[in-house]
């Protein structure tokens, strides 16, 4: 019996929840601060998107390890030394650590949010881009640049969304 279809379904669900949660987290946040404050209802929705992302991350990690196990048992171990794979693993580790730090409020929301948003999309792209030929270093460099740019764009959107009286 092949486990790949089940693993693929769970992995995709995890990615959808994570990427969707990260996207709607930003969209809802920008919508919520238009009046300059986040009320209880809006906070509730934002918490829900965080929970959705966490569920997505757990599904992603579990199915990801399921894939690794399936590759090993099938003897398809060449993939496990692919630099794209290791870049994706690094980004997932960053995502997990960032999730921890955001939950504990040990990282500014602006930085954590940008990192989360970039990491989810990076994981999606790396997982979907079949045949990508790139070194580990070049992928992480592109990821770092993307994270910084995303942070800048989100900051600009944040300032644009706020009411005039709260802008500096």
């Amino acid at each position: 019996m092949s486990w790949y279809p089940l693993l693929t379904i769970v992995h995709i669900i995890g990615t959808v929840l994570g990427v969707g949660g990260a996207t709607f987290g930003e969209v809802l946040y920008l919508r919520a601060i238009q009046d300059g404050k986040i009320d209880d209802v809006e906070r509730g929705f934002l918490r829900l998107t965080l929970t959705t992302m966490r569920v997505g991350l757990i599904l992603l990690v579990l199915s990801g390890f399921g894939y690794l196990l399936a590759f090993r048992l099938a003897g398809d171990t060449m993939r496990l030394y692919n630099p794209v794979f290791w870049a994706k693993m690094t980004i997932i580790l960053v995502l997990v650590l960032n999730s921890f730090l955001l939950h504990l409020r040990r990282i500014p929301v602006g930085i954590g949010g940008a990192l989360s948003f970039t990491s989810w999309y990076a994981a999606l792209i790396l997982g979907s881009w079949r045949g990508l030929q790139a070194s580990y270093g070049s992928i992480l460099l592109a990821y770092a640049v993307a994270a910084v740019l995303t942070g800048v764009v989100l900051r600009l959107l944040d300032r644009a969304a706020r009411p005039r009286s709260s802008k500096r």
């Binding site: 690794l68 196990l69 993939r79 496990l80 921890f100």
Partner: protein, 151 residues
């Protein structure tokens, strides 16, 4: 690979993963301003049990199958360091990881009392849980590297 060894390998990986995730939950919860004691208890026990199952299943697999069937393939292949460094590191770290998890479990269950004791205990628990997560993650990544060398 014979079915029972495949099942042992799967058990080793999945229970280890559950143990690391559970340690992560203990770490997270112990760093919160108001940790939920029941969650700390539950995840610390889950972490310990996960490591023990991973330890036993991995150990049996290592002795009965990895040694005679997999190790020679890795050592003769392109990545012999996967065994020389990867497995050796895993072996030695995993000697004490279940005991670290047991210590974490005991620390969590014994951290009762007033606010002062709780605060002091929480820092120690957080440090222990964080160490468990770090070492568990390291061992998992090394496992992937070792698996990749089997060609």
């Amino acid at each position: 690979m014979p079915l029972h060894f495949a099942l042992l390998l799967a058990m080793h990986v999945l229970s280890g993963l559950a143990a690391v995730l559970a340690s992560g939950a203990v770490w997270l919860e112990s760093l919160m301003a108001a940790p939920r004691v029941r969650r700390l208890h539950f995840f610390s026990v889950l972490s310990f049990l996960g490591y023990v199952v991973s330890w036993l299943s991995g150990g049996y697999y290592y002795v009965k199958y990895y040694g005679p069937a997999v190790k020679p393939v890795i050592k003769a292949g392109s990545f012999p360091l996967a065994h020389a460094i990867g497995i050796e590191l895993k072996e030695h770290v995993f000697l004490f990881l279940p005991f670290l998890a047991l210590t974490l479990c005991c620390a969590v269950w014994m951290t009762e009392g007033g606010k002062k004791e709780l605060a002091a205990g929480r820092k120690a628990v957080a440090a222990l849980a964080g160490t468990s997560v770090f070492l568990g993650t390291l061992v998992s990544l090394l496992g992937i590297a070792v698996s990749g060398a089997v060609r």
